[in-house]
């Protein structure tokens, strides 16, 4: 049925009666335009409430029944104006027309009693009234007919795909779950009819098999052997069922790994490159740190070496030579003075006796020169001993006032040592300089490389997830190998079990003596074949449906995105190893598009929804598309593309939207050839925007 009008009385922000809160619609594209907070979503609520007695709670992201929302669905203004003890009603009326020209008026009513300024006595349930237009008057439709009328307005299974809010699209078509699309196809197409046939045939097939086996048992020539074989068959069948389940699980896991690898395929090179860069960066950081520490050490050692390694003496050769010369001169003179003192020992004065006489004089304690006594311990005796000992080295103290020879010799030896050291100083300085230059140059080169890599990373939009991508790729690659092996092993097991089962069946057959009725035998064979045929047929029909869906959704997607220059990709629907069909947005290179813009994702999903609904047997010609803000995340080009497509695909669509027209764009509404255009504006006549008791919504029909 198509919708002729929607009117409200004191429903949410729509204060006042049906006469002021009314929207009239026609075939084609009907737009209700308003900026944020003007009541667009409340109109969507009105449609849902009248048909389903539910409101969408956007905070909790779920639908809530009237008995939960209660007086919350009545206009604040109406509640405020109601006297204590009085009642106030909220109503929503939908007028619809059927294909055959029948017209129904569907009204939902909710009433509440004002007990105090803040307390309301709400009836737990709303009330639904449906009238059918008869010639000039309305005739009440019996409540038993209500579900049928409502189902004709919007069938329950189509509802999520025809009546939806923009923010629900992502959840509605959640492709992270690989069964989403297949389930939607099952639900919206007639393909599920094949399941009924398969079920029917399966039951018949099982019955025929049981009958055949019973006949075999009855006619067995060795009942014990037959019983044992049947037990064996049961065990094999159980094992086979279990192996088939394990194979299905392994295939599902393999499929998951394949899907993930495919998704990662276009990112792995980049991610591995980034990982390599990260490794290089770490290496560079470590080397820079190490070389900087070494440089600091070498640099701090450099001036220190002027003293520790005596570089400071590099030019001191000349001055030290001067000291050497002075010392040479000094040394000569010093020695000369010493020698002179030594010579005195040899050339004794004439009046001094020879040592042989001196010894006798000391012994005799008598001086032979002056012929006087020189008793032991007396000064003359000591003088004689002193004269005898003149052979010992002369005491410098008796020669020099100050003897600096040891000190000056030390200074001389010191500078002689430095003389050798000075020769290699230049080379040692050069080597240390070269070491500093090399370290500096290495640090500069490494810092440049570090900067290059860092600037690459700085160019990445959003968080860098290369580590996760690389790790995920490795993990999925391992999983792929593991499950390929598991599938191979399971298939081998199944083959073995099937052959075993065949052998057992053959043995049981051979034990059968009597003739099994031909019709029993035939029924068993026929139903087994029929079951396989039905399953294959469904599969083929499904595949054809998917092919048509892919074609149609791309046609719609292309149409919706034709006005934009952005990379869009194409929709590809692939069957995975578990028989489920999963859609992808692929680039022209055959790889999955990474991070396509959000508009593309939503349009891809909308294109699939339209294609599925369009492919449905019987189409959706008689149902209206009702959506709240489906294009809220799209720019004008995407939005226009979407509305043009919707206009072509649906006989009637009612869409609440932001005002996407601007003076620069001309008037896009003209281009769309819309059927009706309403503009809504919430306002508070009293001037206080926060006063909800004064809130009303102005509705203007522009076209």
């Amino acid at each position: 049925m198509l919708i002729k009008s929607l009117s409200m009385k004191n429903f949410l922000c729509f204060a006042g009666g049906h006469d002021v809160n009314i929207f009239t619609f026609e075939e084609g594209l009907n737009l209700i335009v308003g900026t944020n907070g003007q009541g667009k979503s409340k109109i969507y609520d009105a449609f849902r409430w009248v048909v389903y007695d539910q409101m969408f709670n956007s905070t909790e992201r779920r639908f809530e029944a009237t008995r939960v929302v209660k007086d919350g669905l009545i206009s604040d203004k109406a509640k405020h104006e109601c006297n204590i003890g009085g009642k106030v009603r909220a109503e929503v009326t939908l007028v619809v027309t059927s294909h055959g020209g029948k017209e129904f008026r569907v009204t939902r009513v909710f009433e509440a009693l004002k007990k105090s300024e803040s307390e309301w006595d709400s009836r737990a349930e709303s009330k639904l009234l449906i009238d059918e237009k008869k010639a000039v008057s309305w005739s009440l439709v019996d409540s038993s007919e209500h579900p049928s009328v409502l189902e004709r307005i919007i069938p329950g299974h189509l509802s999520p795909y025809l009546w939806f809010q923009g923010e629900q699209v992502q959840e509605l078509m959640d492709f992270t779950n690989s069964s989403t699309l297949s389930k939607a196809i099952e639900l919206l197409s007639n393909v599920s009819d094949y399941d009924k046939i398969i079920d029917l045939i399966s039951k018949e097939s099982d019955a025929a098999t049981r009958k055949y086996q019973a006949a075999q048992r009855r006619t067995s020539k060795d009942k014990d052997a037959s019983t044992a074989l049947e037990r064996q068959r049961k065990t094999l069948e159980d094992k086979l069922a279990s192996a088939l389940q394990e194979l299905a699980d392994a295939k599902e896991n393999l499929n998951l790994a394949n899907e993930n690898l495919e998704k990662l395929a276009s990112r792995i090179d980049d991610a591995q490159g980034k990982e390599a860069d990260k490794g290089k960066l770490q290496e560079l950081n470590a080397r820079i740190k190490r070389n900087s520490e070494r440089l600091l050490k070498v640099q701090s050692d450099f001036p220190k070496k002027m003293f520790n390694d005596y570089w400071v003496l590099i030019s001191a050769r000349e001055t030290l030579s001067k000291f050497s010369d002075a010392f040479g001169d000094y040394s000569h003179k010093h020695q000369e003075a010493l020698n002179m003192a030594t010579n005195q020992k040899v050339k004794l004065p004439i009046n001094v006796p020879q040592p042989v006489y001196l010894e006798q004089m000391i012994n005799d304690e008598k001086c032979f020169v002056c012929d006087r006594d020189a008793k032991k311990g007396s000064a003359p005796h000591a003088h004689m001993i002193g004269m005898l000992n003149r052979n010992e080295a002369p005491d410098p103290e008796n020669i020099f006032r100050n003897d600096f020879s040891r000190y000056l010799k030390k200074l001389y030896d010191n500078q002689m040592h430095f003389g050798k050291l000075i020769d290699g100083t230049s080379d040692r300085i050069s080597e240390a300089s070269r070491s500093i230059s090399e370290l500096k140059s290495s640090i500069v080169d490494d810092e440049r490389a570090q900067l290059e890599i860092e600037s690459k990373f700085a160019g990445f939009v959003g968080d860098d997830d290369s580590a996760r991508v690389a790790s995920s790729f490795r993990q999925n690659r391992q999983n792929q190998d593991k499950y390929i092996e598991a599938v191979k092993n399971k298939e081998f097991d199944i083959d073995r079990l099937e052959r075993g089962l065949g052998d057992v069946n053959e043995k049981i057959k051979k034990l059968s003596l009597g003739a099994i009725p031909r019709e029993v035998e035939l029924a068993n064979e026929v139903f087994i074949d029929l079951k396989a045929i039905a399953q294959d047929t469904k599969k083929n029909v499904f595949r054809k449906l998917v092919d048509a869906l892919e074609l149609k959704s791309n046609e719609l997607f292309e149409k919706m995105t034709s006005g934009t220059e952005a990379i869009k990709g194409i929709i590809r629907i692939k069957e995975n190893s578990t028989g489920l069909y999963v859609p992808y947005l692929m680039g022209t290179d055959g790889l999955i598009l990474n991070n396509p813009n959000e508009s593309n994702i939503i349009l891809q999903k909308l294109a699939l929804i339209m294609a599925i609904i369009g492919a449905r047997s019987g189409g959706v010609g008689n149902y209206s598309l009702i959506s709240d803000a489906p294009t809220s995340k799209m720019d004008t080009e995407y939005t226009l593309g979407f509305y043009k497509t919707v206009k072509d695909q649906y006989k009637q669509s009612i869409i609440m939207t932001f005002n996407f027209s601007s003076e620069d764009d001309g008037n896009p509404f003209d281009e769309l050839e819309i059927a009706t255009l309403h503009k809504i504006r919430a306002h508070t006549p009293g001037g206080d925007k926060n006063d909800r008791a004064d809130l009303r919504v102005e509705i203007r029909k522009i076209a």
Partner: protein, 157 residues
């Protein structure tokens, strides 16, 4: 006695070099790391002094100290390290001051002190000459100080 007298010398520098010395040497010594982090090339004033002496000598740049000049001294030579380097400086100064070493051995203390003073004046003349040279050099090229090798290069050039 000569060793003691020379060791007890406290050669000085002109007050005008105080800032230059503070900028490039760590007063009161300190850890090598601190010195480097504070961008000072010499970890002691005596290091800078020894350096300035040999630089003045290399550049034959003497700055005689007049009796009217304000001079600051710091530590006795006997405390300078490495000891053998301080001895080299003394040997050099003895050579440069043209003191007759052999005659020193026959002098009375008073006369000896006159000769020791000559050695001190020689040390101070070359060291302050060196400071003066460095000051002018850095004034001409203030950026030069950022080169770790500036002092070594000055000496090696």
């Amino acid at each position: 006695m000569l060793e003691k007298k020379l060791g007890n010398l406290r050669p000085g520098y002109l007050l005008r070099f105080e800032e230059l010395i503070r900028q490039n040497a760590q007063f009161g010594g300190g850890a090598e790391e601190d010195k480097y982090k504070k961008a000072r090339s010499f970890s002691n004033v005596y290091e800078f002094y020894v350096y300035a002496y040999f630089l003045g000598l290399k550049k034959t740049f003497r700055l005689e100290i007049a009796s009217t000049d304000t001079v600051k001294d710091f530590w006795e030579v006997l405390n300078w390290k490495p000891k053998d380097l301080a001895d080299s400086l003394l040997a050099s100064a003895l050579g440069e001051s043209q003191v007759d070493l052999s005659s020193l051995e026959h002098m009375e203390e008073k006369e000896l002190n006159v000769e020791i003073k000559k050695v001190k004046e020689t040390i101070e003349a070359y060291a302050n000459g060196g400071f003066d040279y460095i000051e002018r050099y850095l004034k001409n090229d203030p950026e030069a100080i950022s080169d770790d090798r500036v002092f070594v290069n000055l000496l090696a050039d």
